[in-house]
Point group: C2
Chain length 359, copies 2
């Protein structure tokens, strides 16, 4: 992860979204933002699973990094002295972390990498395997920061000076191990001297746009205007949006994109208003095992996230709630997918598999 | 207003959204729903202006009725003994009430009717003019209940048995002097024995869908499922919506419809998913003086309605907010406009003016 103080991203990343501190993980508790900036110390696998499940840390790339560190926590706290017992314990740890959130593929991807380390360390003493796991988790983190930088660079080339960018949810430094995916593009364009401004959908039900995107962009000095999700159409009809830029939790082989609920509507509105709709994500978000978005598992979260705000119930009792956490934007609404390996354009079946080979 | 206890609407309308009680208006304070059902007694013009401005009563038809009663309150509290002084005072009262909310045309329309009574009562003793004002306000209210019934009947004919209806905001009994416009159709279809169910957009920022639509429909025994505004696209993509039905605050001569922010997006999504998009409104919502929706005044409400929920600030300080209270749905996205005089289909320039002549 970048810790060079002359690095232009250092200010953006202070304090870190998450970091390894010798024997535990320190992370910003994102459920308390923007009111309080609290650094949470996570010391156990269960603590990490709780933090991921309760969205104290969220964002597809960030939960991949967090889960990788979670495996290291499991190794550190393991009592197993024998390699076989250690591996069995680690398999449980990985299964526990994998079950926290179903949609983001980065979580599985990072855990698969950790499982690969365990395979390579089969028979090694637990302490040696644990050190290899820590090295791998740090590498996942370091790589993610680098991926964000490359996404930012590729996306910057698509961002005109003066661009007014609509974004949804938070695909920023709080969602990754680096400067973010969609917001990584914004930070990079801003750093390159372009005057960019952002319209942030508040993103119900958990208001990641209002709480997180507005917080991190305003801290970085980037002009940000908040709107309710249902006002994006009006905003576009007033001619105030030049492009839309969102992250992704999983991308199917044909370019269909699973992302935070509401993303699909933004894409539909962009098509109607002839506004480019860009998805920014590390290549690891691509799941070539899925032919299209119809097979991406979509997490349904609890009804209370919708009917209660700040602990106050805002809907009458006894009603049903429709509460998918994600939706799928069909590839034909996506103008381009900005990855660390380059920018993909339709047809995505071809452009994505070309980059897959190049990686 | 309906007060026959054998009337099937009586249960729906208990307690009344608003009613005249001899020397004051009693109304449900809608800002406290669904947690508390509080009947507010409004005794002064300023009290009525506050109630309308603070959305204690809202919905285009309901604020027309409320404003008409507000004029009566002004007449009752007037100290003027002479006709001229009384008229001057009443002109102030009407101007005060007219300034409360800019978008709903029904407010102006009802106040114009009250001003017409004052014109006809020019020279009459204040008490006599006051009685004529009360009679007119009661007539506005009684008529509105009848309009809702007729809208419900016309809309019922468009509603198939088993229909799953998406609605936005609240165009129900809480928004009118009767059973509602969009929800009046639902109540009528339900009463006619059809199995109808409703998906209610929660409708940020003030959550009229979660707080009001869900409340009134569930009290009436109609199945209702709540969703965040940004999930409507996903809901449609899952094939769960048969038609959308919304109210209107103002309709231009060409059929462009101003309604609660977010309505436009619902219409865009309906077009994409080939789902009928219906607008239900009394004919008085039509403003033939406006050729199209581009000239409809759109109220911008305070940023605090978006950045604060239940008094807790959920966005960082110092950011801008885009907060139109309404948007405009172009006529070409509207499948039909259901009025008390019948159902209008495109081209609306013709169909609306035909009904205007018939009225």
């Amino acid at each position: 992860m970048p810790n060079d103080t002359t690095d232009w991203t250092a200010g953006i990343l202070d304090p870190p979204t998450l970091e390894w501190r010798g024997d535990h993980v320190a992370m910003i508790d994102q459920t308390l933002l923007p009111g309080e900036l609290v650094i949470l110390e996570v010391r156990t696998v269960e603590g990490m699973a709780e933090a991921i499940g309760a969205l104290r840390i969220r964002g597809a790339p960030a939960i991949g990094v967090a889960a990788a560190y979670g495996v290291v926590l499991g190794a550190l706290r393991s009592q197993a002295a024998e390699p076989d017992a250690f591996r069995a314990k680690m398999a449980e740890v990985i299964a526990r972390l994998r079950a926290t959130r179903p949609t983001a593929v980065n979580l599985s991807w990072a855990l698969d990498r950790m499982a690969g380390v365990l395979d390579r360390q089969a028979g090694a003493p637990p302490q040696q395997a644990g050190e290899a796991l820590l090295a791998e988790a740090r590498e996942v983190h370091r790589e993610d920061a680098g991926l964000c930088r490359r996404i930012g660079k590729h996306g910057d080339e698509l961002t005109p000076d003066g661009a007014r960018v609509l974004t949804h949810c938070n695909a920023g430094r709080l969602a990754t191990g680096g400067i973010g995916t969609a917001l990584g593009v914004i930070y990079t364009a801003h750093h390159s001297g372009k005057r960019v401004s952002v319209y942030a959908d508040e993103t119900r039900p958990l208001l990641q746009g209002a709480r997180l995107t507005a917080w991190e962009l305003s801290r970085a000095g980037i002009p940000v205007t908040l709107l309710c999700d249902n006002a994006a159409g009006r905003l576009m009809s007033e001619g105030k949006v030049d492009l839309a830029l969102v992250g992704a939790d999983r991308i199917a082989a044909n370019g269909d994109v699973a992302n935070k609920i509401g993303t699909y509507q933004v894409a539909v509105l962009c098509r109607r208003h002839e506004i480019p709709f860009y998805v920014a994500a590390p290549f690891s978000t691509l799941d070539l095992s899925l032919p299209d978005g119809g097979t991406i598992p979509i997490e349904k979260r609890g009804a209370e996230e919708i009917v209660e705000i700040c602990g106050r119930r805002l809907a009458p009792p006894g009603i049903d709630v429709f509460s998918p956490a994600f939706d799928v934007t069909p590839a034909n609404l996506v103008t381009a997918i900005i990855t660390d390996r380059g920018v993909c354009r339709p047809p995505y079946g071809e452009s994505l598999s070309r980059l897959a080979v190049s990686g």
